[in-house]
Symmetry: C2
């Protein structure tokens, strides 16, 4: 017998990723990127977060809610392997997995209290789509979670690959100051599918209320334009 149970979102994330393209491939890749976790009642009460400021990092358990519901496939093609090599789904962090629960480590920036006493959490480094339902928040406990002797298989191969980002000042000035570092981080992480290498191709990435167009040649990403668009895809929960 395989037990079933029902889980329910305790809240959701509010961030600048309005579509999948551009989201860092793992948490922490764009460490200056801010996001806010909003909680549903009764989880928004200050007591539920008592002592959380003592922890520098948190785990988010979340629902890959925007992942198409496909039949179980034992293998996936991770972008990090160029998208053309298959590995087992349990040897990957792919969203296309049984139960579709995601796991990401973020930095805790601020425990925010609204006037009505509701608590929300400001975090950095999240790799989640705006509106993603959150299933749990856990403190990151170094002595059980930080495995300094761990080895990482294929996922470590491109760990230090970063692009040099050429973002003309006049264009960057259009982005609100508090979002600039986060956006630069995401671009440096190379938002392209990793099996693409077409220097003439123009990519468009939605970020906050903007569309950023860019090209990539070798290890250099050049921003071509920044346009204000209606990315009003906020999912109201």
């Amino acid at each position: 017998m395989q037990e079933k149970k029902t889980v329910q979102a305790i809240g959701y994330i509010r961030c600048d990723f309005k579509e999948k393209f551009g989201i860092p491939r793992q948490s922490g890749r764009a460490s200056s990127l801010r996001a806010e976790i909003i909680f549903h009642a009764p989880y928004q009460c200050a007591d539920a977060f008592r002592g959380i400021e003592e922890f520098s990092h948190l785990w988010l358990l979340f629902d890959f809610s925007k992942t198409e519901d496909k039949a179980f496939s034992p293998t996936v093609r991770p972008p990090r392997l160029g998208g053309n090599k298959r590995v087992g789904v349990f040897a990957s962090r792919s969203p296309y997995r049984p139960n579709r629960i995601g796991l990401s480590c973020v930095k805790l920036v601020e425990v925010k209290k609204a006037e009505n006493g509701s608590v929300s959490l400001v975090v950095s480094g999240a790799d989640l789509l705006d509106g993603t339902p959150i299933l749990d928040i856990k403190p990151y406990i170094p002595f059980t979670d930080c495995m300094i002797d761990a080895t990482g298989g294929y996922a470590s191969a491109h760990e230090h690959d970063r692009l040099e980002v050429d973002f003309p000042k006049s264009l960057l000035a259009q982005i609100p100051l508090d979002k600039q570092a986060g956006l630069l981080d995401c671009l440096a992480d190379d938002p392209r599918p990793s099996y693409q290498n077409e220097p003439t191709r123009v990519y468009g990435m939605k970020f906050a209320e903007f569309e950023i167009k860019f090209q990539v040649c070798k290890k250099r990403l050049a921003v071509l334009s920044v346009e204000k668009v209606d990315n009003n895809l906020n999912i109201v929960l």
Copy 2:
């Protein structure tokens, strides 16, 4: 609106903890302790684990299935704080939490293939009760999961507290050789509720098919007896 979804066990763990008492308080505390993860169809196929041997550590997402179903309480009393101080549930790893999903890091010891092609995983360091339903297996990816600058709040305070274990050879000899190191590890981790300090009290801990009786005085745990008992609480899934 709070989205609901149904999740289902992909398998379960087979290990020597037949009751809650004695289970290490976090994964990795008893690193030599072996356990086996058995998968339900269709997840037991070898393809689903292709490449997993490249990772030294894995995450287990599991259902705290034996935790009483209580109404939401915003605070809990972690044993690590002596059981008399309350912290927010989201500042703890307590099982008494919304959605009751647990997260543990284990070492991958072996990818076992049965004659019929079914795969199971032998792991070490798990802090789960025998029969616990597993919801997901993910590879531990050092560059996103190993936060070497993380600080750990109250949970780090007793990190290096270990007991010296006095286990008479004649008694230890009753325990199968491959389980001795794991049991010694668990005892050294101090299975008592941390707010107890009663040198004359005799504790009984169930482990595999044994009951181990011991006393603790200061930093020394003395095993008094080992008895073969019927711990036949294996949960058939």
